[in-house]
Symmetry: C2
Subunit: 355 residues, 2 copies
């Protein structure tokens, strides 16, 4: 049995007993019923995911999957391809958006080269970068498949392996991405899997203008037409219109779910990875926490498809795991509500109606 | 000149120079233009409030103003009056919702007795509680003014004094409240100042049913009819249909603004206090950061009136400063974006169009 098949088999439903116990405690806390709203919903889910009424979330890791995209040759991004590698260095040097946001959340940042189109061996040798590089960038999906089916499976399994290795020191995962041009394959994935018109799920990425957006939509339509990905076969979708980092994200989610670790999903690209993970095993969605609703058009459609309601809406459109890192503070809040707030009885506070 | 008049005079507009410098840096950060959205807006505002491109926000204090309400005699709340004092003890013992949320944000919690209807002297003597107690609870506003105009001014000045004292050790303030029944005066304040129908701005507070809600609206309508507060005179509104803790919150905001300290506004009751502060000096709103949109009906109308867009929407309805504490993590994020993220030049990252 493949690692992917084994991992899928290991994913179990949320633990109803832990959730029932958590609910019982949450309902007795010294506050009006469910007065901390969605944070209490999240506390319940954490209990279910971790099988514990003390769902520890202190050790946090944001994993940034990086990869390049052949389709950038079609002029779908404002930025040149080499920015992917430059940003990898920026992550490692601690100067990127995610570097700052991870400090807010007291999270570790792990950077993975899933398929960057630059030689980053020196960083790997120094132990600063993990390499699971498939190839220096995908093929141009507008003329044929972005990768082979084997490569798609390997990118997902690389993500699984990383999740399982990191699970020893990680209580909560966050997903992150870096890859110039990667809103284009992400929109193609979302269009394919949710059955949406590419127009409805294609946005401005790093900030293209109207003309470039029209062109980007055409490229996505062409990619879908040329490749005809089968939406019921997530590895086929990933191979034909995906990316190595997107496969890595899908694997990270599956691995986290199999290890009963909550995984905070960042923005649009991460959610495209989440759609692949969900396609491989719908129950993986039970372990996902949607961090925020991105500016990127199509994110809401993808989250709705997964049945996930984002925790924040801050007009973010950076990726890198920035939204996931921020949302980890809300996950900590949920944990503290469940474990640190006194019950009416413990605090000798009168309940409603003076009873 | 009174402390209130002096304080109002000291409030200055946001510093345009600091904001321009902050904007210049934010536009050069290694990310697409304004890709961290509202957090970058917030970073700009912080620079303007603090007159600095390094708007330190490390020392954080949530001030919980507590007070009781005569109008509770009319049966407007699900909980008995003594819960106010019981919750004050819970805050001090660290077992309340705010205790847990303050730990998430690494914030200090200061509790102030503005007018609790219980003897809490022993806590004051032990240095665990600050007393600015006007009286053990307001009068029943449904039969006459909740307090005298002098008491209203004193409650605001008490808040100002506290802000000025705490400003030495506080770089960012959060507002909090505790007072059984205090959504009732808050709704009356919002109705009066924004000119809204009480029906539109009255919610379920701690969780009353339909019948109790109808009754609560009637009590608010009666209070406004009996007292006829003058919406252009915020001290008149506070005196007639307010509360001691709401006056304290208004004062805290004015004091913070005069000391150029950002102040994170919690939920509905805090926003009622913010309306009083804004009425006394509209420029106080420049120093307010709206933490979240509460479940409480009327909160959106009050925030719109102040021109404030909430950072979060998590279905919170607890008060105590819980939302304010959580939002402090986003304020920290804004600070870190402005001060820790590298520019394209610093990180040697290519800019858009490969230029």
């Amino acid at each position: 049995m493949t690692l992917l098949a084994k991992t899928i088999k290991r994913i179990e439903p949320l633990d109803e007993e832990a959730m029932a116990k958590a609910r019982e405690r949450l309902e007795q806390l010294t506050m009006p019923y469910w007065a901390l709203g969605r944070l209490m919903d999240l506390a319940l889910e954490l209990a279910g995911m971790t099988r514990s009424v003390r769902p520890e979330v202190e050790n946090r890791t944001v994993v940034i999957m990086a990869g390049d995209h052949g389709v950038v040759d079609q002029g779908v991004s404002k930025y040149p391809r080499e920015v992917t590698a430059q940003m990898v260095r920026n992550f490692i040097n601690g100067g990127a958006g995610i570097s700052a946001m991870a400090r807010v959340a007291d999270a570790e940042v792990v950077v993975v080269d899933m398929g960057v189109a630059s030689d980053l061996d020196h960083l790997v040798e120094q132990g600063l970068l993990i390499s699971r590089k498939a190839r220096p960038g995908t093929f141009d999906m507008s003329v044929g498949p972005a990768m082979t089916r084997e490569e798609a499976a390997q990118s997902v399994e690389a993500g699984i392996e990383l999740a399982l290795e990191l699970a020893d020191t990680t209580q909560i995962f966050g997903t992150g991405d870096m890859g110039i041009g990667n809103t284009t394959p992400s929109s193609a994935i979302v269009a394919s899997i949710t059955g949406s018109d590419p127009k409805e799920v294609t946005g401005r990425g790093t900030g293209i203008d109207d003309e470039q957006l029209t062109h980007k939509i055409e490229v996505i339509e062409r990619s879908l037409h040329v490749n005809k990905p089968d939406p019921r076969d997530p590895l086929d979708v990933l191979a034909k219109v995906g990316g190595f980092e997107i496969g890595g994200i899908a694997g990270l989610i599956l691995g986290a779910a199999s290890a009963r670790r909550p995984v905070v999903i960042d923005g649009f690209i991460s959610t495209a990875g989440a759609l692949i993970a969900h396609g491989l095993h719908p129950m993986a969605a039970d372990y996902m926490i949607a961090a925020h609703l991105s500016v990127e058009r199509g994110h809401r459609i993808a989250l709705d498809y997964l049945g996930k309601k984002p925790l924040m809406q801050l007009d973010l459109r950076l990726g890198e795991g920035t939204g996931a890192a921020l949302a980890m503070t809300l996950v900590e809040a949920a944990y503290r509500i469940l474990t640190e707030v006194a019950t009416f009885e413990e605090a000798a506070v009168s309940t409603a109606e003076g009873s």
